[in-house]
Amino acid sequence: MSHMPRGTPGLRGQQRVVLPGVRHTVAVASGKGGVGKSTVAANLALALAALHHRVGLLDADIYGPSIPIMFGLDTVDVATTRFPLEKFGIKLMSMGFIVQPDQAVIWRGPMVHKAVSQFLTEIPWGELDYLVIDLPPGTGDAQLTVTQTAPLTGAVIVTTPQDVSLIDARKGLRMFQQVHVPVLGIIENMSYFVCDQCGKRHDIFRHGGGERCAQELGVPFLGSLPLDPLVSIQGDQGIPIVQSHPDSPSGQAYRLLAQTVAHSLDEISKNLSQLPALE
């Protein structure tokens, strides 16, 4: 990571101001993989940008970055490229811009910590209304680094309706509660499928699990996102659905979600004062 732009050197005994120009930082997390978390993070970021906000998207999944594919971007020459990159009006940073897609990142925890810390502290994010952080699944090194380093305004937990996903969502939620990061709520992805032939709604992975989970854990239920083949097709083509089909049912669901998330972040930040330091 020595090729990354160098920022202010760490000063021992002084707190470094992290993301000074960012108004709200929101983490998108899930207890387990495969729930569409990166898809949700990418489309949420685009939906916030569509509401005329300045938005950044940080891919904190060091081992399996997927943001570059979703935005139709590839590895870049780090010697000549200035990070963050920009596409569809969003500032982007991902390990996938640095490491070739077929190259495995085989790192122990401290290296993951270093990479995520550098993404947060040494990338000139500039003035942003929202920085969306796409976390890897689980409750490991990247999550801990983000919660310790970034001034998170809040976090959203993505789940699918099955019990196995909900059990892990609870673990993710507990993690944020333990580190005093406000949980904005739970998003149920792949919630239902609307048949394009008959228009009937099918609850493929059952129904209402996310809402029940939110009720049980005492956090808001932020909404359901449909299982839409177009979402994955657009993701693979490098133009997320909010960008390519903003008026589709999925595009509209994301716009509604972005409004809810933006409102929650505004409400939470009213009560989130900065902690005092002792010099």
């Binding site: 021992r12 380093t149 005093h180």
Partner: protein, 115 residues
């Protein structure tokens, strides 16, 4: 429950004012002795070796006197990191840990009653 003010009291004490109105007092040496970092925890769990020979660094550290707290900075929304004069700074003191270590008279009494 979160700290609203931190201040030094004399040479050897820290005072934390909490959002619930409680005022905690600590000796810095108490906080250092309870450092929650993995290395310090492991050291504390080892049985005492009366025949242990101190290393040159340990002798130098003892000669320099007890380490002083240079600063105390927030970690995320849930903890503090203390930077000590001997370079140690890996301990993350959560709010819960700090409340449990409070040395004010009321907290001491509560702990004694609980024993």
């Amino acid at each position: 429950m979160r700290p609203v003010k931190l201040r030094r009291q004399g040479e050897d004490q820290l005072v934390i004012e909490w959002s619930d109105g409680h005022v905690s007092v600590y000796h810095w040496r108490t906080l250092r002795a309870a450092c929650p970092c993995a290395t310090c925890r492991e050291e504390r769990e080892k049985p005492v070796d009366p025949l242990r020979v101190l290393s040159a660094q340990e002798v130098a550290a003892l000669a320099a006197g007890p380490p002083r707290a240079l600063s105390m900075t927030p970690v995320g929304h849930y903890a503090y990191q203390i930077h000590w004069s001997d370079g140690h700074a890996t301990g993350i003191y959560t709010f819960e840990t700090l409340r449990n270590l409070c040395e004010c008279d009321a907290c001491r009494r509560l702990r004694e009653q609980a024993r």
